[in-house]
Symmetry: C3
Subunit: 155 residues, 3 copies
């Protein structure tokens, strides 16, 4: 029987939305799937050597924050960093692996990471800012794999 | 011919984004699909007995609200509740089924609902807050079904 | 060998999130895929003759804006339009095709566009506001195609 394939399009660049692609990719790889992740739009932030991801509670009413805050307060300067810090502390206390470590696990498990060339060009993102092992390609390249995948997710 | 399968990963916890997973799941079940929904991250809010979902217009410029408001006003205290109330009233007037009813339809149609154990642990969510009939599992459990699905969606 | 099929559910109505469905649809069509896009919820904004899409940086911490701004400033009246204008200018300078042009390419490539009847009714959206060539249908109609698709994405 041939290997199962998982294709992910990672488009979000905040701390909370950084987890799903890396958790799904590493879990699938551990289960023997062949995995490719195409990082595009805001998702390219997840490939940076120096990650600076923030939690955004705005637009997520369902978020069980350690401390609840009215919407207006969430928009105050400094509040986003405070929520990010609290979230990181909570995750650490609970033993949740950080994004960098999770990303490393994906690379070790041979998850193929592709940076969207068009977005890289659009925002003049220097390739030296990205981690090693990243490949560059367009949507057409990605369809070669996605078209044969068992699961394809837009995250 | 074997039954078609639909797998959904439900990750959002606001009133507006609560509709897609339940509408897709109930429609597919009515068409004879076998359906599993994996609730994770903010999506776990959708499994609570006592739903307290809010509309978030922030970040949705395309939202045709009953009354249009500038971005800053939307961040004022009380405004989110007001928009939520207006949205609910509009939906009721139009005969749109509420989330609780839609969720009930899914359960009746034997849609399998799985709560992400990792997120439940991370946010210390007490299982007694969730509706009956929910199962608990991790991403690996979900892949067993998703890997054989005809459609798999990350919502 | 039969044609590959791509099914997309387009649910977002902002300028930044208008790109993914149209880029994916037009790329797949160019590669010989048969493509159907189901526009629902805020995604219906993408079918309007007169597009008035805005960038929403709120909730996208990863967005490399031409000028960076604290969260609170982003909520100020006029700021959203300013960011939208800057984004459009940048895209134009970089030779990125506009949404209207991209949408036209999709129609030329025979991408089938379906407007969600339920959402249209809910928000009393007049069909005359939509571009020509749009069909109307429900989730059930869409599943006929999606259930046979090689790739199905919820965008």
């Amino acid at each position: 029987m041939s290997e199962k394939k998982l294709a992910i399009i990672a488009t979000k660049g905040s701390l909370d939305w950084a987890y799903p692609p890396f958790i799904l990719a590493s879990t699938a790889a551990a289960l023997g799937y062949q995995v490719q992740v195409f990082f595009t739009f805001y998702g390219l932030q997840l490939l940076k050597k120096k990650l600076d991801l923030q939690v955004t509670s705005l637009g997520n009413t369902g978020m069980p924050m350690p401390v609840s805050m009215p919407v207006l307060m969430q928009a105050l300067p400094g509040m986003q960093s405070m929520m990010t810090m609290m979230m990181k502390r909570k995750m650490k206390a609970k033993g949740v692996v950080g994004i960098e470590e999770l990303r490393g696990l994906c690379l070790e498990a041979e998850v193929k990471m592709i940076a969207c060339q068009m977005t890289v060009d659009l925002f003049d993102m220097p390739p030296k800012d990205f981690i090693d092992g990243v490949e560059y390609g367009g949507a057409a390249t990605f369809f070669e794999f996605a078209g044969e995948s068992d699961i394809c997710l837009f995250v």
